[in-house]
Every structure is written in structure tokens, then in C-alpha cells.
């Protein structure tokens, strides 16, 4: 945790987004979901989590678990920018000489646990949080959940247990980008009114714009939101945030761009020129 101002956070997020775009070629990645949670991850690692590259094995560190594992390029980008792993290592994305693939691998420094199958890491977080409570620790366990992931029954099972065990050292953050794999959440399995659902399950809930650092300053200033309850933040986000040409086709959840397209997207990311992506180039391939 370094405590960055908003300008510094914006610069950090931009660098993380560059990493994400660079990982969207030569095999590709889940770009939309990665871009939607990039601001949240950069903020948490910079200004909230008590964890540094030197602390990855420290039992008193804060934990962050990426339950919707397909957004791992955002995590790897953040870990690279903050010195947990070398930036050059991201060039090994999907290569046999390393172990950086489409979902989190806990062999990579800073990654607390693997995921990929949705609905798992809330329960793993519950185990970590229970142990911290048993030892009287004050560290916290953050879990990034996808909104599509909320279809999984194990999430709701876990919420019941988290409340029953009064795990107020748990902080759950829903990346509410309004999409599941191919379809808007509200068009398939509607989640709203989501805050009320979580409140009914015993969470203390805040809802913020997941790209607004001022709102994050407020929401993440003190934990828990209520004694004896898991804290839960619904962060409204935009799938593909930062790249209007991707945002416009947010129903494409996995992409594999050509190097030329990556060049265009990097230009667009810096606000220089919109990418001339056609709907065909955004197809999964």
C-alpha cells in the first residue's frame, strides 16, 4: 500500500490497461472483464490493501482473492506495475516457458489462490477469515466477485455462512459490469435489486461507481461497514472501460487481436485515435 493520489492512480490504471491490451493478442484474453475491474484493483493494491511484494508470505497481510478469475490480466498488470512480478514477465502470457495463463495461478507471486470455476473463492476466503479471527488478527480478506458469478449457488451458500460466523473481516466487491459471458445479466438472470439481496443475506452494503476514485476513497475508508457483518461493495463498472470501441461491443467477452489491432487499441487507450475495429475483428477467434 503506497497511498497514491488520483492523478497517480489514473496513470497506474492506464499502465495496467496497457498490459491488458498487450495480453489480448497471440492467444488473447478476457479483455472486457479485465478492463472493468482494473480501476478497482489498482486502487485496492495502492491505497487499501496492506500487502507489498515483501509481504506475500506475511500472515498479517491483507488478502485479495480473484474469484472471477478470467479478469486475471488486470491483476497481473497491477502486480507487475507494483513490483510483485517483473513487467517483462507478462510477455510470457500463455507461453510454455512460464505459467501465466487465462486464469489465476497461485504460483505467481502475489496471487493468493487459483480460480477459474466460478463461485469458489468466497468459500476459500471464509476459511482464511475464520483463521484470522481465531488468531485475533486484524488483517482483512478481499474477494472480487463477478456479477455473472452471482448465478452460482455457492456464493449464496457462502454468504449465509459468512454472516453466521460474523466475518466482518471479509470485504466482498462485486464488479458489476452488467454482463455475464455473452449476455446482459438483466436479460438472462436478473440480479436487481442487488443491494437488497445482499442486505437480506446479512451484508453491510455500499454501492459505488467502480471507476470513480473519489467514491472509492469514501467507500474504502473504514472497515467493517458494520460490526459482525461482511462488508460488500457493489461497484458499477463498464465492460471494456477505457476503450470505447470495446465498450460498444461488450458482448464479446473473449478476444484475440492481431498485433496491428493491439497497436490501434493502445492509441485509442491514450485518447489519440479511435480504433477502426469492425464487428468481425471483435469476434472470438
Amino acid at each position: 500500500m503506497s497511498g497514491l493520489n488520483h492523478k497517480e492512480l489514473e496513470a497506474l490504471s492506464l499502465s495496467v490497461r496497457e498490459h491488458i491490451v498487450r495480453m489480448s493478442t497471440d492467444g488473447g484474453c478476457f479483455i472486457g472483464a479485465s478492463l472493468s475491474c482494473a480501476d478497482l484493483l489498482t486502487y485496492l493494491y495502492s491505497n487499501v490493501l496492506n500487502v507489498t511484494p515483501e509481504m506475500v508470505h506475511d500472515p498479517n497481510r491483507d488478502y485479495l482473492l480473484l474469484s472471477k478469475g478470467h479478469d486475471v490480466p488486470a491483476l497481473y498488470g497491477t502486480l507487475a506495475e507494483l513490483g510483485f512480478i517483473e513487467r517483462e514477465r507478462l510477455r510470457n502470457h500463455l507461453k510454455t516457458n512460464d505459467s501465466i495463463y487465462w486464469h489465476p495461478n497461485r504460483a505467481v507471486a502475489g496471487v493468493e489462490f487459483h480460480s477459474g470455476s466460478l463461485g469458489h473463492l468466497l468459500s476459500v476466503a471464509i476459511g482464511i477469515a475464520l483463521d484470522i479471527k481465531m488468531r485475533g488478527g486484524s488483517n482483512r480478506v478481499f474477494v472480487i466477485l463477478g456479477d455473472g458469478e452471482l448465478n452460482e449457488g455457492s456464493i449464496w451458500e457462502g454468504l449465509l455462512v459468512a454472516k453466521a460466523k460474523k466475518l466482518d473481516n471479509l470485504v466482498l466487491i462485486v464488479d458489476r459490469n452488467a454482463f455475464q459471458a455473452n449476455i446482459r445479466t438483466e436479460d438472462l438472470i436478473p440480479l436487481e435489486p442487488l443491494a437488497q439481496k445482499f442486505e437480506a443475506f446479512g451484508c453491510a452494503v455500499k454501492r459505488i461507481d467502480g471507476h470513480d476514485f473519489s467514491q472509492m476513497d469514501q467507500a474504502f475508508s473504514t472497515f467493517p461497514f458494520a460490526d459482525g457483518s461482511p462488508s460488500l461493495v457493489i461497484a458499477d463498472t463498464i465492460r471494456g472501460k477505457g476503450l470505447p470501441s470495446i465498450e460498444a461491443r461488450a458482448d464479446r467477452w473473449f478476444v484475440n487481436f492481431t498485433p496491428d489491432e493491439v497497436g490501434m487499441l493502445l492509441e485509442e487507450l491514450h485518447g489519440r485515435q479511435a480504433s477502426a475495429l469492425t464487428s468481425e475483428t471483435l469476434m472470438v477467434r
Binding site: F113, G116, S123, V124, G127, I128, S154, E157, V161
Partner: protein, 321 residues
Amino acid sequence: MTYEEQLLALALSDERIVVMTAENRAAIRNLPEKLGDRFIDVGIAEMTMVGAAAGLALRGRKPIIHALGTFLTLRAFEFIRNDVGIAQLPVIIVGGVPGFLSEANGPTHQAIEDISLMRGIPGINVFCPSDAEELVEALPDLFASNAPWYIRYYAGAPVREHVKQFEIGKAEVYRASSHAEEVDVTILTYGFLLGEALQAQEMLQAGGMKVNVVNLRTLVPIDEEALLQSAMRSQLVVTLEDHFKIGGLYSIAAEFFLREGLLPEVLPIALDGKWFKPTLLKDLLKHEGFTGPQIAEKIRQRFTEMQANAESNLGEYLSLN
């Protein structure tokens, strides 16, 4: 010493041990007040229990988790595979009322593919105690191994004195006689059915046959030497289990024999693609043909057929020459 007493003793001497249950307290009823916050009941939530056990293990704990074998290995299968198996965390998974022990509950409660599922996950070990004594004796070794385990829980009273100390990956052999190297039949088995196997052994031996009974104890890792000896030194190998024929001991033995290029005569006694009759244990054993006398009869019949075939083959051979 009961399972509960052993678990308490181990937990009191090792603060890493955490006892968990998905509201199945039958075997650990007295532990909550004695272990305090190291006893965690998550309610009827097997997936959350397995995931939370993985989380506790990440923090250096050694969780031992309890629920019915079916719900654990089936409902929470992916959590066991992903969160315990991939990570190779030292979680001990205790599946209650496995196999025939679910008695009259019906097919939903019949854990008769549990071994198949658990041994299908790389790095998960499988222990099938044949009685409380074996279970209690093995527990410290399982914790000490620092590996994930599935225990096919059975804590009945011993039917016979054990002839070998527990050791991971080593079978216990009840020999036909102290000097018999070659035998007619070797019965390979595990768990609750050991008692029936020993009864069958007695009956067959009374009829003049030489029979070894091998109590395999751990199916992963399996005692390969015991399997090898069964194929090399007996005319008929019997695999006896209250499990589907697919994926359990019969499969383990078949895979081993094929790998070693062995073609022993094998009689599988298992549940062949069907659920067993939901009724009380004594009645269901009889109904399904798994009592000692019925097992003995199946073996005798097969052995007689083998001998008749051997004679007719010999006759054919002689007439051709």
C-alpha cells in the same frame, strides 16, 4: 479408544487441527465444547465447507471435515478437485455412511462411487478403515503425511484381531496358514466388508480350500506388492467391495494387472451398475449377496467352474494329440 477420543487427543496436541462439519455431528458430538473455535459447523453447506477448509489450510491449519460420503464427494466434488486437489492442501475429508452403511436411505445416500471419484483426483489419498481400531490407529499417520486424504469412514467394532500395524500403502494379509505360499484364492477387500471376507475365508477353508484375505486399508496409495502376490500365488483373485464395479478396487487391480502384463483369473464381487436395495444392513447384505456365506458360495462356484474348464481343456488337448 473411539474416533472422537483420538481426534480430540490429536487436536489438543496440535493446534493446527481444525474439526469441521456440514452439520453432521454423529461421530464428533462432544467436540464443540472441547475445541471451542477450532470446531466449525458451517451448516448444510458442503461446498462452502470444502472451500473454507482449503482457506484454513492456506493459513497453516490441518482441517478434518465431516459430512455424508455422497454429499461430500458428489455435491462438493469440484471444490475438492479444485481447492484441495489442485493446491494439494492437507485437508482430511471424512465421508460418513459410505457403501452399504447408508442402509435404508435409498440411492441418494449411497456413496458407491466415492472411491472412483476421489482416486480420480491427482494427489488425493484414499483410506478405507475396516473398523474403529484401524481408523484410530491410522489417524496420526494421515495428519502427519501433510497430504489430502479421503477417509471412507467406518468405526465398527473389530471382528478379528489385526495381524499387522497400520502403515500407509501397506496391506494386511490374513493368510490361509502360516506356511502356505501358494493358495487357491486371494480375496482383496477393504473397509466394512473385511468381516464378511474373513467369514467366507473360514468357510472355504473348512471345505478344503486355501484362501488368503487381503485388507488393503489404503487404496491410494495401493500396496502393489500385495496385488502382485495375489496374481502370482493364487489361482483365483477376488475383488470384494461395496462400491460400483467401475472405478473402485476391481478397476485398480485391473489397471495394475494390465500394466504388469498379468492375466490372473479375477472374480469381481461389487455393485454392477445398480443401486442396492434400501433396507437394514443385515437384510441388504443378504439381498445383494454380500454375506460371508454368499461370498463363499460365489467363490466356490467360480473355482469349481475353473477346475471343470481346466479339465475339459486338458481333455481337448489330449484328444487332439
